[in-house]
Amino acid sequence: MPDSMPAEPGPIDPQRYPLPAPSPAVTLYDDGGIAWNRVSPKLAHTRLIVALVVNLVLMVALAVVAVLWWRWAWIGVGLFALGAVFELWLIPRQVRAITWAELGDEVVIRQGRLLRSLVAIPYGRLQYVDLTSGPLLRHYGLATLTMNTASPMSSGEIPGMPLEQAEALRERLMRRAEAERAGL
């Protein structure tokens, strides 16, 4: 009877709502006994290149402003320099934080350092899987794999996978998606 439920907030009673098929539990921090895959460390190179080039361009522009017109612009140059140092520290960590695993029923992806997230996308919900690779990523032999479900809000992304690995994963995902879909 729902009326006899405890008034205090507490854990969900497993006896009332038993769960017959336990899949491995995933957690936000530790690995919890799952073999998490990392993305290629080369992803950090591409991201650093982009970030540093942007910073450099802005610094040069501000430096020109400082020399020619307005001395206080040097403050901006200094801030961008600090930003570049912070990026040098942050980006490799962010890239290392991206981990993913294929489980029995779904793909799980963890991302982020400051804003951490863990996404579980069931194979049966996959609509299509995209591989994209810009010129810089392609130079490093990397690609971004995007999984799309019926909701644009629930797409999952694994950036910086080695191309062959990404293609193989896409094949596997599409096969599993087909198989699970057929059962519906």
């Binding site: 907030p9 854990p11 997230s117 919900r125 879909r181 057929a182």
Partner: protein
């Protein structure tokens, strides 16, 4: 126009014997009706002014300022003729046909447009009638389909009888096309077939025509046939509930200004500000009232049908299988009246930012809201739902946010909570307003666990069961990290199990 029949010839061969049909000849008039009326009205008024002026003797002073009467006598007929010609040509070139597999529409003279919608992708067929269309006995058939923003077709206008017949035909054929094979309806998997009709007949419904028709429940298809009435919202309640929010704001904001203004004798200064303010508030209120008056919700087998509108009547059908998430909510201003609103996410529905999207019940009593929820998802425990909606602070049967969540969510954390039931997740929230979102385990697209920097220092995290696009955004915010992970993992299992069973 011999050349356009030649133009159609190859397509007719490809798609079979279906014939191209024209819209009603008065269509351009209804579509451009207001513009035409305005133009004619403008010229007429100018003309009348002029005649009046010339009679009044002021003509000579005015004559130099504008074109003479004679010019109007020439210009007006030319403009009207040009508009009529344009309308006639556009009518000549617009046509549609319903084939065995698709609905096609062509229009345009210079820029030609050919739109083709596969019948097995059709999501809904609605009949809409503007007031002008109603006067002329016409109606518009709107066909929504899955896939792409330009995948809907509006057949405007045909006679009302024809509209009903087209709707019937489209729904029958959509059902037949959907039954043709399991792959045909697989556009959005796990969210139900292309249409609730014929779902039970799958596998044997490959042949079309009479046999297929007989196996379908006609009440799905025949819009004239009444379903079981579920809710009828009296118009006074629509008016009162619409006024309850903005009306109070208006009173609070405008009344003091008015009183002070009048008291100080500052009419001149107050009015220019007040009139636009009042109009700006009145227009959307009036719009909402016109839109939602005469609201009725009928139960059909496997679907519900909404009908609404004072001047423009709109009827639309929501297949229950396509409902992905339900939200029962109460804006603060409705609390004293115990009124509630029910919204749903419907798979494949047109995505729009309008606040009316997905509304199943614009305003109803708690009992009516519960009846709607029970119709859409009979597995929801009404007692649990009512507790979630009405209990202040923590509700029995819900797991709430821990007290330390006050540092990220100082006010609303008290009401937050989640209940896991065998069939769905119930997520409560709101502080001034109140709300419970219901997401069936079987309808969850994916699951997300998030933790921002402040949440991290407090050891909190949020779980989002992601539904399809729509007005309901379920989010279980600020559980302790440990509980969030437990709910996340538990829900993964439940969703997976529910997917297998569905």
């Amino acid at each position: 126009m011999t050349d356009d029949s030649r133009h159609d010839a190859p397509l007719a061969e490809v798609t079979g014997d279906a014939e191209w049909r024209r819209f009603h000849p008065l269509s351009p008039l209804v579509r451009g009706g207001l513009v035409l009326l305005a133009v004619v009205g403008y010229f007429l008024s100018q003309w009348v002014d002029r005649i009046a002026n010339s009679l009044g003797g002021a003509a000579s002073a005015d004559e130099g300022g504008g074109p003479p009467l004679l010019a109007y006598a020439v210009i007006v007929p030319i403009v009207v003729l040009a508009i009529a010609l344009f309308a006639w040509v556009s009518w000549r070139y617009s046509r549609f046909r319903i084939g065995e597999e698709s609905l096609e529409m062509r229009k345009g003279v210079i820029v030609r447009e050919h739109r083709k919608v596969r019948l097995d992708r059709i999501q809904s067929v609605d009949i809409t009638r503007s007031i002008l269309a109603r006067v002329l006995g016409l109606a518009e058939v709107r066909v929504e389909s899955a896939g792409g923003s330009d995948s809907h077709v509006s057949l405007a206008f045909v006679t009302h009888d024809e509209a009903q017949q087209i709707r019937r035909q489209l729904m029958l054929r959509a059902a037949a096309a959907g039954a043709a094979g399991p792959g045909a309806g697989g556009d959005i998997d796990g969210v139900g077939g292309p249409w609730p009709v014929g779902v039970g007949e799958r596998g044997e419904g490959t042949e079309r025509g009479e046999g297929t028709e007989l196996r379908l429940d006609p009440s799905h298809v025949d819009p004239a046939r009444e379903g079981t009435p579920l809710v009828r919202v009296p118009t006074w309640r629509i008016v009162a509930s619409t006024l309850a929010g903005p009306g109070i704001v208006a009173l609070v904001l405008i009344w003091p200004v008015l009183i002070v203004g009048v008291g100080l004798g500052l009419w001149i200064f107050v009015l220019p500000w007040l009139i636009p303010a009042v109009l700006g508030m009145a227009a959307p209120i009036g719009g909402r009232i016109l839109k939602w008056s005469n609201f009725t919700l009928d139960r059909l087998p496997g679907a519900v049908r909404l009908r609404r509108g004072l001047t423009d009547t709109v009827a639309s059908t929501v297949p229950l299988k396509r409902v992905q998430a339900i939200s029962v909510q109460q804006p603060f201003a409705w609390r004293p009246f115990n009124w509630w609103r029910v919204k749903v996410n419907v798979a494949g529905a047109k995505i729009s930012e309008s606040e009316d999207q997905g509304v199943l019940l614009p305003v109803g009593t708690l009992e009516e809201a519960l009846a709607v929820v029970a119709t859409v998802d009979p597995n929801v425990d009404p007692h649990l739902l009512v507790r979630g909606l009405t209990q202040p602070r923590q509700a029995d049967g819900f797991e709430g946010a821990p007290p330390r969540a006050r540092w990220v969510d100082p006010v609303a954390f008290r009401r937050r909570g989640v209940a896991v039931t065998p069939s769905s997740l119930l997520i409560r929230g709101g502080f001034l307003g109140r709300r419970v979102s219901i997401v069936p385990h079987a309808r969850i697209q994916s699951l997300t666990l998030d933790q921002g920097p402040i949440q991290r220092t407090l050891g909190l995290a949020s779980v989002q069961p992601i539904s399809t696009m729509g007005p309901v955004h379920p989010n279980i915010q600020h559980l302790s990290l440990e509980r969030a992970q437990a709910v996340f993992n538990d829900e993964r299992g439940r969703a997976s199990q529910a997917r297998v069973q569905s």
